[in-house]
């Protein structure tokens, strides 16, 4: 089974250790012997939601807030720029969700 890793017990996300989904993945780390059903394909190094978050809820990893949910996030969903934003860095709201490339720079 594909695997993901939850660093801290307070975390509501886990990091994928390989490309996975849709389907079940094993959660290693803080809460061993649990599973999460991925709702979509999530790439290595990206995050899956372990506990449903409402818009405005904190996204927690390493036991510390790493951002805030910008919409409701279901268990098993990919957590990234499309549904989570930094509490300090306003520029990262202007990036392409897949490539991370900035969309606020003019080339002509």
């Amino acid at each position: 089974m594909k695997r993901c890793f939850q660093v801290h017990a307070d975390d509501n996300v886990a990091t994928l250790l390989e490309d996975a989904g849709p389907g079940d993945a094993a959660v290693l780390g803080a809460a061993p012997d649990t599973r999460v059903a991925l709702l979509e394909t999530i790439a290595l190094g990206h995050k899956v939601c372990l506990r449903a978050a409402s818009k405005g809820d904190l996204i927690v990893k390493y036991g510390v807030p790493i951002g805030v949910a910008t919409q409701d996030v279901a268990v098993g969903a990919w957590v990234h720029l499309q549904n989570c934003s930094s509490r300090v860095d306003e520029r990262s709201n202007h990036l392409d969700v897949r490539t991370g490339v900035a969309k606020d720079t003019a080339y002509a």
Partner: protein, 401 residues
């Protein structure tokens, strides 16, 4: 980790190096072609230089810190002849530290070919002087200063690459060694986490001040230390990247904050602050690229630098060897010729964090003993010196701060 010793090079100023290099320094972009041609084909000669014609106190401190670095045994400073930065003064400081040194202006020697010939002749003489005064001495972990930088980070960096360096740092410090980590712009969101690691209340205040400066700086330039590749690799926010980056500091108390070109005051763990201090010129970005950060670490006296890169990188460094660590097994396979260490095996469960950290320490000992790291063997010697302003340590007046 058991004790380990290897043979190093004792300088007259009492410092011990793991390499015995000659450093060529140029003092303006106009002299860079000749400087590189002088060093061409000379395995023990590395090059750094500053592009600007107007001098800058920060850049001069950085060049002096590199000229008197423990891995450097002799210096050759090359100028064009019009610029503000004076090669004679750089050579003078290096000479005073016990390092055979020389300098010249290209304009006074006729041009490109004669400048190169002059430089080659100077190298030959410096090499002979260095050989005559080189003293080999035993070195151990207590003598070693290691720097750590991360770049091209992805979701594995915070889970494997940085934690393995952090655990190695704990072991090194427990053996009486010194460790320096970058950097405050990658600690945004972690003020309380950082403060809890301070060795004493005074250090906690230092950390607060550095943190607040970094936050102000990022806000004012509207740029945090996070790149498109980081986002594509799964990092969603600077706070997430910060927490992963902070893992490379390990778990020992932070002894204090040092700025660029300040030498590590005593063994233990140190935070390097390379963020510009307030100044009428708002010079560029605090860390425009990975190479700039690596040069900052080397300027504190780091003998070697750990570079954690989840997505992979093809840079190296002059003066101090770079060891490339990745937490991403796919990156390791894809870029095997460039990567020194695969921490991805921690995530696949093949070995524990402690086992991997011990292996990394073994590798650090091997490189300290003379084994070339991958980027070193490939000939990578990237450097980047820029205009910047930091308040300390103060140098004499008269130079553009």
């Amino acid at each position: 980790m058991p004790e380990r010793s290897w043979t190093g090079y004792l300088r007259e100023d009492g410092r011990k190096g793991i390499r015995n290099l000659i450093l060529v320094l140029y003092t303006v972009e106009c002299a860079s072609f000749v400087a590189h041609a002088v060093a061409e084909g000379e395995a023990d000669v590395h090059v750094i230089g500053f592009p600007g014609c107007y001098d800058n106190a920060y850049a001069i401190r950085l060049m002096l810190a590199l000229a008197t670095h423990p891995n450097v045994g002799a210096c050759l400073a090359i100028g064009l002849g019009c610029e503000y930065t004076q090669p004679a003064r750089l050579a003078e400081v290096a000479e005073r530290s016990g390092r055979p040194s020389d300098w010249f202006f290209i304009q006074e020697h006729g041009g490109t070919r004669s400048g190169i010939a002059k430089g080659k002749a100077a190298l030959e003489s410096l090499r002979a002087q260095l050989a005559a005064k080189t003293i080999q001495v035993p070195m151990s972990w207590q003598d070693l200063v290691v720097g750590a930088e991360c770049g091209g980070s992805d979701g594995t960096s915070g889970l494997a690459g940085n934690p393995v360096v952090g655990r190695f740092y704990d072991m090194l410090i427990d053996q009486g060694g010194s460790a320096v980590f970058e950097e405050t712009v990658e600690m945004i969101g972690l003020k309380d986490v950082m403060r809890s690691r301070a060795a004493n209340p005074e250090v906690a205040l230092q950390l607060d001040r550095s943190y607040e400066k970094a936050e102000r700086y990022c806000k004012s330039v509207r740029q945090y230390s996070v790149s498109p590749g980081n986002f594509a690799g799964g990092l969603t926010t600077i706070e997430e990247k910060s927490m992963g980056a902070f893992a490379k500091s390990g778990s020992r108390p932070i002894q204090g904050v040092i700025e660029v070109s300040q030498q590590v005051p005593h063994p233990g763990l140190w935070l390097l602050d390379s963020v510009p201090d307030e100044h009428f010129m708002q010079f560029g970005y605090t860390n425009p690229n990975d190479t700039e950060g690596i040069m900052d670490l080397i300027s504190t006296g780091a003998h070697l630098v750990m570079f954690v890169t989840g997505r992979g990188s093809v840079i190296g460094s002059p003066v101090a060897p770079l060891i490339k660590v990745t937490g991403n097994a796919r990156t390791f396979e894809r870029m095997r010729e460039d990567m020194d260490f695969n921490a991805g095996s921690i995530l696949s469960g093949e070995r524990t964090l402690d086992e991997a950290a011990l292996e990394l320490m073994q590798l650090a000992g091997d490189v300290a003993s003379g084994m070339m790291s991958k980027p070193e063997a490939l000939g990578h010697r990237e450097y980047f010196l820029m205009y910047k302003h930091q308040d300390t340590p103060q140098l004499e007046a008269g130079c553009r701060a």
